[in-house]
C-alpha cells in the first residue's frame, strides 16, 4: 500500500478493525456483567433456604 489511495485504504481498514475490537470489548463487558448478575441471582435462593432452616 502506497500513496494517498493506499493511505485511504489503510485508514478504512484501521477504522473497521478498531470498531470491531471496540464492539468486541463492549460485548465482553455485557457478558461479564450478565455472568456476574446471573451468579448472584443463583446465590440468593441458597442463602434464603439456609436462613430458613436455621430459623
Amino acid at each position: 500500500m502506497t500513496g494517498i489511495l493506499g493511505s485511504i485504504e489503510l485508514a478504512g481498514i484501521v477504522y473497521v478493525l478498531c470498531a470491531l475490537i471496540s464492539f468486541g470489548v463492549a460485548w465482553l463487558i455485557k457478558g461479564i456483567y450478565a455472568g456476574i448478575r446471573m451468579q448472584k441471582a443463583k446465590e440468593v435462593p441458597v442463602l434464603a433456604e439456609s436462613t430458613g432452616k436455621i430459623g
Binding site: S7, A11, C18, S22, I29, K30, Y33, I36
Partner: protein, 401 residues
C-alpha cells in the same frame, strides 16, 4: 584593565546577537510564547497543570543558549538528539534534565505513569452501565484519527509520521507521545508539543463547537438518572483484568499503556488506600509536572525549527476538530435512535481527553438547563475513548512499525 566584550559576560544575549537571525527570531517568539502560556495557564484559560511548567521551560531554555565551545551553541538543559552511548554518558553528567529525559521521556515511561494516574482517577463503572452506546460514540469521536491520516499523507508526510500526528485526534497525550516515539522518533518532539498544546485548547475551543452544532433546545435535554444500575467493585475489577489481558494479547506493542491504565483502575477499585494516594498524588502530578517542563525545554528554537512544524500545527487542529464533529455526530445518531431521549452534547465526551471533555459537556448542558445532569452518561464515552484510542494506537503501531 583587560579588554573584554561585555556580550561575552551575558552569553544568552551574545548568542542572540551573533547567532543565525532566523533562530534568534524564533527564540524571541518562543520566549514570548512561554510567558503567554504561564499567564494563560495561571489565569485558567489553558490547562495550568501542563501549561505553567511548559511555559517556564520554554522561556528559560530559549533564553539560556550559551557557547558550549568556541564554535557551538547550545544549552545545559537537555540534548534530545543524542544517540551515541558514550556521548550520552557525558551529556548525562552535564545537562541537568537529561537523566529525566533519557530515563522517563524517551522510553515512554512518563506516558505510562500519566496513564496509571488516569486509571486511578477513572471510574470504569460508567462504561459498564451502557457499553455499546459508549463505545459507539467513542468510535465516532475517532473520526479525526482516521481522516487525518490520508490528509497528512497528501501533505507529504510518510505513513509513520502521518499515523503519529493523526493520533492527536484521539486527544490522549500519553498515546501521542507513545505512538510518535515508536513510529516517528525524529518528529516526536514537535508532534507531542502540538498535541499537548491543542489538548489544553480543547477546554476553550470545544464549547464553541457544541454551541455551533447543537441547538439550545437539544442541549438542555435531561437524561434519566433513575434507572442507573449499581455496579459493584467486583464487576469493575473483573472487567478491568479481563479487558487488559485481551487487549495485551491483541496488541502487545501497546501492552505497557494498557497495563498502566488498568493497573490504576484495579488499584482504585481494590481500595488500596496507600497505593491510590501514591499514584493519584506523587505519580500523576509528578509525571504531569515533569512532562510539562520537559515539553517546554524541548521547545528550544534549534530543536523545534523543523520545516514540518507548520504542517503538524494544521494537522493537529484538523484531527481534533474532525474528532469533535464526529463525536457530536455520534451524539445525534444516539439522539435519533432513542427518539429524542439522548442529549447529543454527550457526543463531545467521546473525544477522550479524560475528564476534560466530559466536564465541558456537563458545563454546556448546565448553562441551558440547570437541572440536567449528564456527567455519568458522558463519562462512559469518555473512558471508552481512552480504550478506542489505545486500540487505534495499537493497530497503527502494529501495522506500520
Amino acid at each position: 584593565m583587560p579588554n573584554f566584550d561585555i556580550l561575552n559576560l551575558f552569553q544568552g544575549i551574545a548568542t542572540m546577537v551573533y547567532g543565525d537571525p532566523t533562530i534568534t527570531i524564533a527564540r524571541i517568539v518562543l520566549i514570548a510564547l512561554g510567558i503567554a502560556f504561564v499567564y494563560l495557564g495561571a489565569k485558567g484559560t489553558l490547562e495550568p497543570l501542563i501549561m505553567i511548567p511548559m511555559g517556564v521551560g520554554m522561556a528559560s531554555v530559549n533564553a539560556s543558549v550559551l557557547y558550549l565551545s568556541a564554535t557551538t551553541m547550545g544549552t545545559i538543559f537537555i540534548d534530545p538528539m543524542i544517540s551515541d552511548p558514550a556521548q550520552l554518558m557525558d551529556v548525562l553528567q552535564i545537562n541537568f534534565l537529561q537523566p529525566i529525559y533519557t530515563l522517563t521521556f524517551s522510553n515512554g515511561l512518563i506516558a505510562c505513569l500519566v496513564f496509571m494516574g488516569i486509571g486511578v482517577i477513572t471510574d470504569i463503572g460508567y462504561i459498564l452501565i451502557a457499553p455499546f452506546s459508549s463505545m459507539f460514540i467513542a468510535i465516532m469521536a475517532e473520526l479525526g484519527t482516521i481522516l487525518t491520516f490520508p490528509i497528512a499523507v497528501a501533505m507529504g508526510l510518510t505513513y509513520k509520521e502521518a499515523a503519529s500526528v493523526a493520533i492527536i485526534g484521539g486527544a490522549d497525550g500519553p498515546m501521542v507521545l507513545y505512538t510518535s516515539l515508536i513510529l516517528a522518533k525524529d518528529l516526536f518532539v514537535p508532534i507531542t508539543i502540538v498535541a499537548y498544546l491543542y489538548l489544553s485548547l480543547t477546554y476553550g475551543g470545544y464549547p464553541y463547537l457544541i454551541k455551533l452544532l447543537i441547538p439550545r433546545r437539544l442541549r438542555g435535554i435531561k437524561m434519566d438518572l433513575h434507572n442507573l444500575p449499581e455496579i459493584t467493585r467486583g464487576e469493575k475489577i473483573t472487567f478491568a483484568i479481563i479487558t487488559c489481558t485481551i487487549l495485551c494479547l491483541l496488541f502487545p506493542v501497546a501492552g505497557p499503556l494498557f497495563m498502566s491504565f488498568f493497573v490504576g483502575v484495579i488499584v482504585k477499585e481494590s481500595e488500596v488506600t496507600h497505593l491510590i494516594e501514591f499514584i493519584e498524588g506523587p505519580v500523576l502530578y509528578g509525571s504531569t509536572f515533569f512532562l510539562g517542563l520537559m515539553l517546554g525545554v524541548l521547545c528550544e528554537a534549534n530543536t523545534i525549527m523543523n520545516p514540518k512544524v507548520l504542517t503538524l500545527l494544521f494537522l493537529g487542529m484538523t484531527a481534533l476538530l474532525i474528532s469533535g464533529v464526529g463525536g457530536i455526530l455520534g451524539g445525534y445518531i444516539m439522539y435519533f435512535i432513542t427518539r429524542g431521549k439522548y442529549n447529543p452534547v454527550i457526543g463531545i465526551a467521546g473525544v477522550s481527553c479524560v475528564p476534560t471533555t466530559a466536564k465541558v459537556a456537563q458545563k454546556e448542558v448546565r448553562e441551558v438547563n440547570k437541572q440536567a445532569i449528564i456527567l455519568p452518561f458522558a463519562m462512559g464515552p469518555n473512558i471508552s475513548g481512552v480504550i478506542t484510542s489505545a486500540i487505534l494506537a495499537g493497530i497503527y503501531v502494529t501495522l506500520l512499525r
